[in-house]
Amino acid sequence: MSDPRDDVISVGALAAEGTHSAGDPPAGIRRVPSGVDGLTTEHLIINMGPQHPSTHGVLRLLIEVDGEEVLAAETSLGYLHRGIEKLAESRKYHQLGTLMDRGDYVSGMHGEQAAALATEKLLEVTVPDKARYIRTLVAELTRLASHLVWYGTFGLDTGAMGQFLYAVRDREVLLDILEEISGQRMMFNYIRPGGVVADLPVGIEKKILDFLTDFDVHLEEHHALLGGNEIFQMRVKGIGTISREMALAFALSGANLRATGVGFDVRRDRPYDAYPDLDFDVPVGSTGDAWDRYMVRMEEMRQSVRMVRQCIEGMPEGDFTAKVPKVIRPAEGEVYASVESSRGETGVHLVSDGSPEPYRYHYRGPSLFACQVLEEILPGHLLADVVMMIGSLDIMLGEADR
């Protein structure tokens, strides 16, 4: 292994190439120690996780440090390996949602949507317009809920506490809405092949719009509270820079990919459900550091608010589900369907052999690919920045381990 000091990232160079305008770190603050002359230090291996408050689940990192500088890191997964893929082979098609909910457990709707889309591709059914809109509506509400978790815990990693409480406060209202629509707060089991389980409850539109009116204000406050804080900016700017080439090589997706400047969004480029009818922007970053990922996710929340409004305005009349047999027996075949979940491209690779259960069910969790890139970006940073990088990648171990 070559000396990791060779490719140490220096902040000065980044600030020069980056397009950040406001709040560059003050002069004299060096993020990366350039090594202490004349003193030999012994390398230390620090075990972080699997039970650690800021690894966002059960990620385990073995970090080799020299003083405070990270020399190498190894990611260890599998502490939440529950066999979603294996169990899906013994589940019927309409039961797949219960497993997918628990894959990426913070944005359950997207998992259900991916499973339903894959099954519909095999079945070749057309989903009614109303069902498409309801699905999009709940998926965007879930994205807001999921990004609020990321926002709250990302702040906790820096040591901030207040914004976490505000994020949870807003999320409570969202979860109440989602509970009223689907029946549970996190494991919705709402989206099924062919449509959704039940129509939207009466009067929910008003509740959602009331929430959005508040949330417009709250979101700007969230952004000002965390993103406007100089301490936070100093801690995230120039941290964990992922180049465009690295992002493509590691197959990153979602906000992590868009922060590097690649504007690929499944909602826009592989449109599904009601997204072709909606008007929304895909935010992209420029340098691909933690600050860009933060900004992209904040902008995504604004776009989600826009999309929820459009869904409510354009909600068509009609059935909420297509006619789908009770026991789904799709024809033999193999399909891939993907959705843009909160963390990236959640894909389902489904092989059917004509029986009521899938033959092979593969779940592409975007977090698995984000976990891989950690090994690459951690070396050269300080130990305290490790948690910032994990937080900024928004890793969900449920879908990495599956």
């Binding site: 599998g78 095999l122 090589a249 075949g333 891939y336 092989v351 698995l368 690919f369």
Partner: protein, 153 residues
């Protein structure tokens, strides 16, 4: 979305990959090759004019007779997707493609472990998800727990 099948086979022939079958299936454009030529084919596709720069996903499946591995490639410049399939025997070796696509690092470890293959040419061919002694769980011959077992735990 769908790449031109003739262009794909043209690139593969130019790279010296013989008997590759390119066809359009329900999945998309699927290219079936021998396991030995996967590395060469992937390298040619990545650097070729179709520009498949991203290995979006990697998975293996137990077909009952052998293991079928699938490489899901995506080209962002041309907005196209391609699936490469190859088969490996049960006691066979899975050749790592990590130096062509870095995103294969962990999915390959996972596939090798859960389907009981040995991983060759990988920088860190350890188990990823399970502990030592756990059977290759994704194989069809390895059963899940029965209803009686889970009820009388």
């Amino acid at each position: 979305m769908l790449p031109d099948a003739t262009a794909v086979s043209h690139i593969l022939t130019a790279a010296g990959v013989s008997n590759a079958v390119v066809a359009t299936e329900t999945l998309g454009v699927v290219c079936r090759l021998e396991a030995a030529s996967v590395l060469r084919a992937l390298e040619a596709l990545r650097d070729g004019e179709l520009d498949f720069r991203v290995l979006l996903d990697f998975l293996g499946a137990d077909t009952g007779e052998e293991i079928e591995v699938t490489y899901h490639l995506r080209s962002l410049t041309r907005d196209e997707e391609l699936f490469i399939k190859a088969t490996v025997a049960y006691d066979g070796e899975l050749r790592s493609v990590w130096n062509i696509y870095a995103s294969a690092l962990m999915p390959e470890r996972e596939t090798a472990e859960l389907l009981g293959l040995s991983l060759v040419g990988h920088p860190n061919p350890k188990r990823l998800l399970t502990t030592d002694g756990v059977e290759p769980l994704l194989r069809k011959s390895v059963p899940i727990r029965t209803v009686e077992e889970v009820r009388n735990r």
